[in-house]
Structure formats: C-alpha cells, structure tokens
C-alpha cells in the first residue's frame, strides 16, 4: 500500500513538471512579448529591454523555463498585472475561499448522492426513483453557471432570504484568520453569528456547483446497489444469517461505492472548472474568480499560478480517490496481480 502511494506521488511530480512546461508554453510562446505586455504599449523601448533582461527573456527558451520553474518551486510566480502585488500573496488571500466552497459542495454531493442513491434503490421503480432519474437528466442538461444565474434570480430578487453575494455580510466582524476558512475560523473562536452568516453565503454557490453531479452519482450508486444485491454472495451471507446492518455496510455498500467514487473524482474536476464561472457570478472572493479576472486581462503570471495550483489540487484529489478505491476494493488493495 505504502509502495503504491509513493509510486503515485512520484508520478505526480512528473505530471506537475509536465503541467508547468505546458503552462510555460501557453503563456510565453503564444502571446508574444511578456515584457511588452507587462509594461503596456506606450512604454519606452529601453524600459522594455531592461525588463526583458530582468525576466531572463533574452535567453533561449529552455533557460527561461529553468529560471521560471526555479521561481515557481519557491512560490515565486512573479507580479500580477492586475493587482500589482506578487501573485503568491494574492493566491494566499484567495485560495482559502475557493477551498471552503469546494469542500462544502464536495461534502454536499457526497452526502446527498448517497442518501438519494440509497432511497432510489430502496424504492426502485416508484416515483422516488422516477424523480431522481428526471433530476439526473436536468443535472446533465443545465450547466452550473445557468443554475447559478437562476439561484441568483430566485434568492436575489424573488425571495431574498439568503444573501447572494460575497462571503460575509458587512455588519459581521470577520473572525481572525487561522485556517482562512471563515466557517472553521468562526467555530474555533466561538463566533456563531459569523459562522451562520458565512454558511448562508456559502450555501448558494455550493448548491450551484453540487447539483449537477449530485443526481448522476445517485443514479450510479443506485444501479451499482441493484446490480450487487442480486449477486450470489449476498444470498450466501444472508443464508449465513449475518445481521442486515452488517450485510448492508460491509457487503453491499462498500462494493457499490467503487464506481461512485471514481466518478466523483472526475466530477470534482468539473466542479473546479465550473467554480470559475460560479465564483464570478456570486462575487465569491476565491482563486477562481481571481483566475477569471486574470484571464480576461491577460495577466499571464497570475494565470500560470492559478493553473498550476489547480493542477496540484486535482492531482491530490486523484490520489485520494485512488486510495479510497484501493481501500474499498480488496482486489486493488491486496494487489491482485
């Protein structure tokens, strides 16, 4: 098991290097002269030349990449054109908000996918099952940015019971930054007013991100459960007289979660992509909104930083998913080969 983890981490390092090369190519080769872009079209030529030297742009590309990547490893992504601050400072400020949102929506879709999947397997071919089937089609068909716009319409204008913009109401004192996740920080400091306010702000963007994959995963869980319940080993353990709860947990749920968890990994990727749109719609001060603003302003340093960070996050998520699957599936855990 440990060997497997080490192997995955080792592969992961190469993938991250690959991503960095890809990003370097996208950001340096495609758009022309980064020094000129950094200073603007009206800057004098000598200033541009100076900056070119400073950014090592006068050297051949592989050397440029070497200097750039050396900086990236130390967390030095250069300065942002937009905010005029080092990109890493921006990242530190905006990343926690995105993590908070992603964690909550991930949590939402895991919990509700499980509940709904169980319910529709239990009451299969009844209206419960039919409803989740229809909702899973709706989840496929309506992109999350449209869900976000609709939620904004409903809760922003028609029924304003939940705040729709930002992270915290202006009349609430934010808790001191410990983890950067406002909900966690306010719980640690015992500031329940801030906790509930932060949670209220979180819930709509989290729903917008979670609702699409949620019902599809519930469907996958349902069909896995129905497949497995008719397998012979279930009859065997029932025949042995094992208690129902044990059969349910150990013999039915565990194998049925294998396909769900692998799809969840993919869904988490699309969730991270969708966060780019959803965060800007809800004015959520996270890394994805920062990334979108960087993209719209061609702020190349910021774009590369955001993409590398998302690449690393996605990599970690994938490793976690693989570990969970290995834990669920004895064929992998015990090394079937």
């Amino acid at each position: 098991m440990l060997k497997y983890i080490i192997k995955r981490l080792f592969q992961g390092i190469f993938v991250v290097i690959g991503i960095s090369i890809l990003i370097f190519i996208i950001s340096r080769v495609v758009p022309g002269d980064p020094a000129r872009m950094a200073l603007g079209p009206r800057a004098p030529q000598f200033a541009v030349d100076e900056l070119r030297k400073e950014m090592n742009l006068d050297k051949p590309l592989p050397v440029q990449y070497y200097y750039w990547f050396k900086g990236v490893i130390k967390g030095d992504f250069g300065k942002s054109l937009n905010t005029k601050r080092p990109v890493i400072t921006d990242v530190k400020e905006f990343l926690p908000a995105t993590l908070e949102l992603a964690l909550l929506s991930g949590f939402l879709f895991i919990i509700f996918a499980t509940i709904i999947g169980l319910l529709s397997a239990q009451y299969r071919d009844t209206w419960v099952d039919g409803l989740t089937r229809i909702l899973s089609y709706v989840g496929i068909a309506i992109p999350s940015f449209v869900v976000a716009v609709l939620l904004l319409l409903i809760f922003g204008y028609l029924w304003p019971v939940i705040p729709t913009l930002g992270r915290l109401s202006s009349n609430i004192t934010p808790p001191p930054t410990i983890t950067g996740l406002i909900t966690v920080d306010s719980l640690i400091t015992g500031n329940f007013a801030a906790f509930f306010d932060a949670l209220k702000h979180l819930i709509l963007p989290a729903i917008a991100l979670a609702i699409g994959p949620l019902f599809q995963e519930a469907r996958i869980l349902r069909s896995a459960l129905i497949d497995n319940i008719n397998k012979e080993y279930i009859s065997v353990v029932t025949g042995y007289g094992l208690p129902k709860g044990v059969i349910m947990r150990k013999h039915l749920l565990k194998p049925s979660f294998i396909p769900v968890v692998s799809v969840m990994g993919l869904d988490f990727a699309s969730l991270m992509g969708n966060a780019f749109l959803v965060e800007s719609i809800f004015n959520w001060p996270g890394l994805s909104r920062y990334g979108i603003n960087a993209m719209l302003n061609k702020d190349l340093n910021a774009i590369s930083a955001v993409i590398i960070i998302y690449g690393v996050i996605f990599l970690i998520v994938n490793i976690i998913v693989d570990l969970i699957i290995a834990w669920l599936d004895p064929r992998i855990r015990l090394g079937g080969e």
């Binding site: 690959g18 950001s27 992109p143 319409l153 699309s270 979108i292 993209m295 774009i303």
Partner: protein, 305 residues
C-alpha cells in the same frame, strides 16, 4: 410488430441510401431496433435532427435574420414574449428567438470542427501509442496525454482561450487542444490489448505494413466506443463553448452565442427574464438531446446484447 414495420421505414429514411441490399437492410433494422428500444434515444434523435435543421437553415427560419448583426430598435426593446417575438426581445430590441437559432448554428459548428480535428488526432496518437506499447513512442505520447488529462478540462480551455484573441476561432482552438487526449487514452487501452491478439500477429507475419495493421486491423475494432463518445461529446463541447462565451472568451457580440446571451441577460434579471431563460432552455435542450442520442448510439453499437 407494427412498431417494427414503421421502424424499418424510418431506418431507410434516416440513412437513405439507394443501394441498400437485403443484407444491409437487415443490419440497419437490427441497429434501429437496438437504438429505439429506449424511447429517450428517439427523443434524442429528434432533438438532434431539429438542432441540425435549425443550425443549417437558420437564415431562412429566423424571423429577423438582421438581428444578429449590428441592429438597434429601441422602440421594440425589452418586449416580453408575444406573437411577433415569441421569445421576447432584448435591450436593443433584437429578437431573442432569432438569436437563439443562430446560436444553435455557432454551437453546432463549433462542436463539429472541434471533433473533426480532435478525434482523428487523438485516435491516431492512441493507435500508435497502443500498438507500440512499452516502447519510447508509447512513453512520450502517453506522458504528454497524462499532462493534458491532469488538468480539469474547463480550466485548460479557459486558459488557452484567454491567451488568444477572444473570438469563436480561439475558443475552438482551446477546446480542441484539451479534447484530443481523451480519445488518445480511450483508443490506447483498446489498441494495447488488440495488438496482442492473434489476428494482428498474423497480419504482422504475413508482412502487412504498419499503417495497414493500424487502420485495417486495429482501428475497426475500436470504432464503436469512439462513435459513442463522439455522440456524447457534442453536448459537452457545446457546454464548454457556452461556458467560454459566458465569461466573454468566445464569440464576440453582436454575433450571438448561448453563454454570452445568458450573461447579458443576467444583468437585466428579473425584469427581462426572457433574455436569460430562453437561451438557457435552448442549451438544456441541445445538451439533453445529444446525451439521449449518445446513449442510443451506445445501445446500438453495444455488441454484448
């Protein structure tokens, strides 16, 4: 039984070829039977045909084709849905229905071009890497593929579109660049196992050329999953294209696109709700259609049953 007879006619309608022999007729009949067992597939087929029809004949069908260019008529601005403007008009007095129909055109054009480039490239690389699996060719191709697959697709597309000039072509390039690796990986797995099969070994012994083995021996056995994925992917390309145009990295105004119409409309919520709702419904319609259609294609090409 009655169903079967009409199914037969329909098949002939859809794939109308004058040279149908009895044998191909029978094959088509089986395909149609498998495809049409699920009623959602037929619904999907209908939606796909309607979308293609709307896209191709947009200038003829649309009631106000001039509304997709620079056009302003403030007298008719912000009209709710009515008889002459069934989806209402936007803040410039342009007909939403016309603009939605033209958006179908852009969206379908985009997915056709993206898939027409990404699928052959991805499949070719997958075939080569799979056939030469275990060699340095395999290592190079598949490690590059891994890098592309290591990023969430939408983020990569956004980044590529962002460094290029914002327009439809750039968003097509962006989506194409992120799309091929999925086909490479799909084909790679199949090609690796197929290249160990006896019929491939046989062809090698007889002295068949490498291209012959790749395209005549291995590729035909990979086609079903490729076609299934393509049918499903049309909807996803449209979705990503809509997302790109939503943030302003796709088709530029005044030419309409789904995402751009939704983000424009969102600014006039809730008063001019029709500016957002109808483009949103149109996206849902087309994505759902291609998903049902793709499921149908999968049922049809599935050899297991």
């Amino acid at each position: 039984m009655k169903n079967n007879i009409s199914a037969n006619e329909n098949t002939a309608d859809i794939k109308k070829k004058s040279f149908l022999s009895d044998n191909t007729r029978e094959k088509l009949r089986i395909y149609w039977y498998k495809f049409s067992r699920n009623k959602f597939s037929i619904l999907g087929l209908c939606i796909v045909l309607i979308s293609i029809f709307l896209a191709v004949f947009a200038p003829v069908i649309a009631p106000y084709p001039q509304h997709v260019k620079e056009f302003v008529d403030y007298d008719k601005a912000g009209l709710p849905p009515c008889a002459s403007y069934i989806f209402g008009t936007d803040v410039f007095g342009r007909d939403i229905f016309t603009r939605v129909i033209f958006s179908f055109r852009g969206a379908l054009l985009m997915s056709v071009i993206v898939l027409a480039i990404a699928v052959p490239v991805g499949v070719l690389l997958g075939l080569i890497a799979g056939y030469y699996s275990g060699t340095w060719i395999d290592v190079i191709i598949m490690r590059i593929t891994d890098v592309f697959l290591a990023l969430p697709p939408m983020i990569l597309a956004l980044a590529i579109a962002a460094v290029l000039k914002p327009n439809l072509t750039s968003s097509m390039i962006a989506v194409t660049v992120m799309w091929w690796p999925w086909y490479t990986r799909l084909v790679y797995g199949m090609a690796t196992s197929l290249s160990k099969e006896y019929f491939v070994k046989n062809a090698e012994l007889i002295g068949a050329s490498k291209p012959y083995i790749l395209f005549h021996e291995i590729l035909p056995n990979c086609l079903s999953p490729i076609f299934t994925k393509m049918a499903l992917d049309v909807g996803w390309v449209i979705l990503i294209g809509a997302a790109l145009s939503f943030v302003g990295l796709g088709e530029q105004p005044p030419t309409p696109a789904f995402g751009q119409m939704i983000s424009d409309g969102a600014r006039y919520m809730p008063d001019l709700w029709w500016m957002t709702i109808f483009p949103a419904l149109a996206i849902a319609f087309i994505i759902l259609g291609f998903n049902f259609f793709g499921d149908g294609i999968r049922d049809m090409l599935d050899r297991g049953r």
